[in-house]
Symmetry: C2
């Protein structure tokens, strides 16, 4: 399904001579899609969407040439990092150009506590370089190996590391963004301080990010552990342990991920380690904190069933690849009828609402929590696994959560407002007018924009 | 006032041949006392107390010889680090030996995230060495320049750094303690994990700490800033700013210290910077977080009146030396009728009880808050400055706080239970029986022990 007229596309190709262009249909399909298929709803809505061609600039000057040509010919532009988003964020609804930024992958500089990188750099690749000076990125999605920093900032929210540093939306976690506008004469805009929020988490609707300045975290040697809880006690002791660890100020942690049984049974590579029926905690803990951690585990009746030093953890499986939305991946690899929720529980150390939902939904909604810091407090967010039956039932489940004060960031929609945001930040709408006057960037994803365009 | 009989002391001196001993009366006075004089109550009670002699061992073997000889001759032993405690913790109530550990001052080893040091090493001196590999101690009292690590762990609670890592009593902030017992044949005991709590904050009643293993924090370059708030808005906007900064997960901080006017007027070296009537916040912030900090300051109506990069801050005044109990020091250097409280407010982001106390006591109790993490939450502790009139009134002020749910760690007592602890941890009492069977360590400070000894 393409939209741009063939003559326009031809004119565009001439204008982009010398820049890598991909039109091979198999590639075009691959580079048009992302991990939207986690959602049965999005699968129905998006599986046929394609761009007309992929353009892969090698530097910012080439990005500007692409932007200028697309503006001139009024061709939609959908920016693509690694395409690991879950809501079809980088799937073009109206064809046009897929602007693949993966060649802009340089670490420009890194010093203690700060780095500046190109937007297409992969998260793990950035760490590889910054770790040489003892630092690493503060937080990463579980797609750390493949995802780009630009895609994370434009499409993600937080992840491994968020238990210490909060989320991308928290002040201080993105220091600066350099953006190319979509105009006949593209401009370069450097945003710093709160200005970064004009573009962050805007799904590529608000300019093309070419460079990113991020704060770095100390690269502790991270031990990886799995703690199991006796089958007979159910999930809640594991959840309380997670909260207590989140609140333990003297223990340095990067990841606290909790899984009710039977989720661990879907983790094939861990199957030998986890006792039947056990809820588990997947942890990344600074090696110097493992000894005090053991006291906390003992206090909560847990049992360490997997324990790797940082050195050992650097080989073989990465425990992080069983957390966040990788949990869903593992479950779906066994049973494709499984899908998921995205939720944030109210801050409450007693976890009453977690317990309620765990008991209320039973086997239909399997409890999966990630602890992160929200406004200074360790708080569980849920990426619960749902046994999908119908869209109506899925909506009912989400509604029940919302009615009980559990925030839902609906992952079954490609409309930005209907996900986590609810309403657009007016700063973002004003900024879009400035940088994308023809509304060519990722069209169809922002309701507010569509309504004002047609209104 | 000495207690030990002259012949006992003579025998002791013979047994300690080759170890440095000090008996010069001026030195003896100096090394018998600490900063008890911040409290008018303790001044009345303790100013005449003296040890009989100071012994200054150069290594652990010498410590063991001192312990053996004192056990054999039943001579009281009061351990002294730098003598900067505030409650007379290291003032000998019954004469005897002052065991000065300041010669045990080596950093034994340091690696990323962990160090092992001798107990008499000064905090700043430790940092000097660990910073060479990019790390520093997690938390320090404002007496950082002079205080020893052993004295901090045995007598202190937390300080600069506690806004990130909590307090010494939190699991993970002290990894191991090596202790010499007070017996005819002294033993060496290595305590790890929760076992460290048998000796930490025990005021030298529970064995002689010779070595300490501590976790290290990343040595960010710390900028130092003073933020002033308009005189007409009073203290609360400053306090709310402190809470918001404490809760800002993306901003790396080491110190958030709040002072109501007229406290800043007592800070002579800062006087030129602070507008008349302003409440101020004294901050240490990672340089990479200063830019987002500025947004938060703007949002709260603050004004930066002092701003040093880490490089600049390393020379001249240390902002930390206006915080914690240095605040009291500066106030008392102008007006010796001033004394202080130690309190912890209930965790409440709206700071209602802070506001109540601020308004209720007016000019009699000047608000001074330090934000620290308590069980995972940024919480204000108060070291309020009190215009002292009578002991009765002082007790009344503390009682009023307690009745309103503000925890008081009374700094006007030399009885360990009457300070912050309220009741002794039974583990500590059992451990004291083991390591100090004759009750010679710092006698007279633990009510529970005295009662069981006489009961
Ligand atoms: C198994 C799995 C686990 C996941 N776990 C997490 C998680 O823990 N936390 C989390 O936040 N997300 C998670 N995600 C979602 C996603 O992987 C991350 O958000 C990831 O960081 C996206 O990076 P990307 O390079 O793949 O971006 P893409 O998917 O390529 O793009 C994401 C969005 O950003 C836009 N964009 C990309 N690059 C730019 C640019 N240079 N300028 C402007 N806009 C741009 C795109 O148009 C799109 O709207 C997960 C996804 C999967 C499949
Ligand atoms: C201006 C000022 C500011 C302060 N600010 C803070 C603050 O921010 N936070 C805080 O916690 N405290 C603070 N204090 C109190 C004190 O300075 C600290 O707790 C300091 O760390 C004590 O160290 P020291 O070496 O001086 O210990 P000392 O005063 O010498 O000893 C303290 C206690 O520990 C015992 N002790 C010392 N060494 C050993 C050992 N090796 N083995 C066993 N027991 C031992 C002593 O017997 C005594 O009971 C402050 C005091 C002042 C005067």
């Amino acid at each position: 399904m393409t939209v741009a007229a063939p003559d326009k596309l031809q004119a565009l190709r001439s204008a982009l001579a010398g820049i890598e262009i991909i039109t091979d249909p198999a590639q075009l399909t691959k580079l048009s899609l992302d991990f939207y298929h986690y959602s049965p709803v999005l699968t129905r809505q998006l599986s046929e969407k394609r761009g007309d061609l992929v353009v892969r600039p090698a530097n910012e000057a080439e990005v500007m040439r692409v932007a200028a040509a697309c503006a001139q010919h009024r061709i939609p532009v959908t920016i693509r990092g690694a395409g690991t988003g879950n809501y079809g964020q980088c799937i073009p609804l109206r064809g046009g150009v897929i602007l693949d930024v993966s060649k802009l992958n340089q670490v420009l500089w890194a010093k203690p506590g700060v780095a500046r990188v190109q937007a297409g750099a992969k998260l793990m690749a950035i760490d590889k370089q910054t770790r040489e000076i003892g630092w690493e990125i503060r937080m990463a999605p579980s797609t750390y190996r493949t995802a780009t920093i630009g895609g994370f900032i434009a499409g993600g929210s937080g992840g491994i590391g968020s238990i210490t540093y909060g989320q991308l939306r928290d002040r201080g976690n993105v220091l600066a963004l350099r953006v190319v506008t979509l105009e006949e004469e593209p401009r370069i805009i450097e945003l710093r301080g709160d200005e970064v929020f004009k573009v962050s988490h805007a799904w590529g609707l608000n300019g093309i990010i070419t460079e990113v300045e991020i704060p770095l975290a100390p690269a502790y040697p991270w031990a990886e552990l799995v703690v199991a809880f006796p089958a007979e006690v159910g999930f809640m002791p594991a959840a309380h342990f997670g909260q207590a660890l989140g609140d333990a100020d003297g223990i340095i942690k990067k990841m606290i991920s909790l899984h009710a049984w039977p989720i661990p049974s879907y983790f094939a590579p861990l199957r030998g380690s986890v006792p039947e029926g056990s809820a588990i905690a997947l942890l990344m803990i600074a090696e110097s904190s493992v000894e005090p951690l053991m006291e906390l585990i003992r206090e909560h009746g847990g049992q360490v069933v997997y324990n790797k030093t940082a050195q050992e953890a650097s080989k073989g499986i990465m425990l992080g690849e069983f957390t966040w939305n990788h949990t869903t991946l593992h479950c779906r690899s066994v049973d494709t009828s499984l899908t998921y929720l995205q939720s944030a529980f109210p801050a409450d150390r007693e976890l009453k609402m977690v317990q309620h939902m765990y008991e209320y939904f039973g086997d239909e909604v399997l409890m999966h929590l990630e602890f992160i810091r929200i406004e200074g407090q360790a708080t569980p967010v849920g990426l619960q696994i749902v046994r999908f039956t119908t869209e109506d039932r899925l909506n009912e489940i989400m509604r029940y959560h919302e009615e009980n004060g559990v925030f839902i960031a609906n992952p079954h929609t490609f409309i930005i407002e209907d996900g986590g945001r609810k309403v657009m930040d007016p700063r973002q709408i004003r900024f879009k007018q400035e940088v994308d006057p023809y509304g060519l960037l990722n069209p169809g994803k922002m309701r507010t924009w569509q309504e004002r365009a047609s209104g």
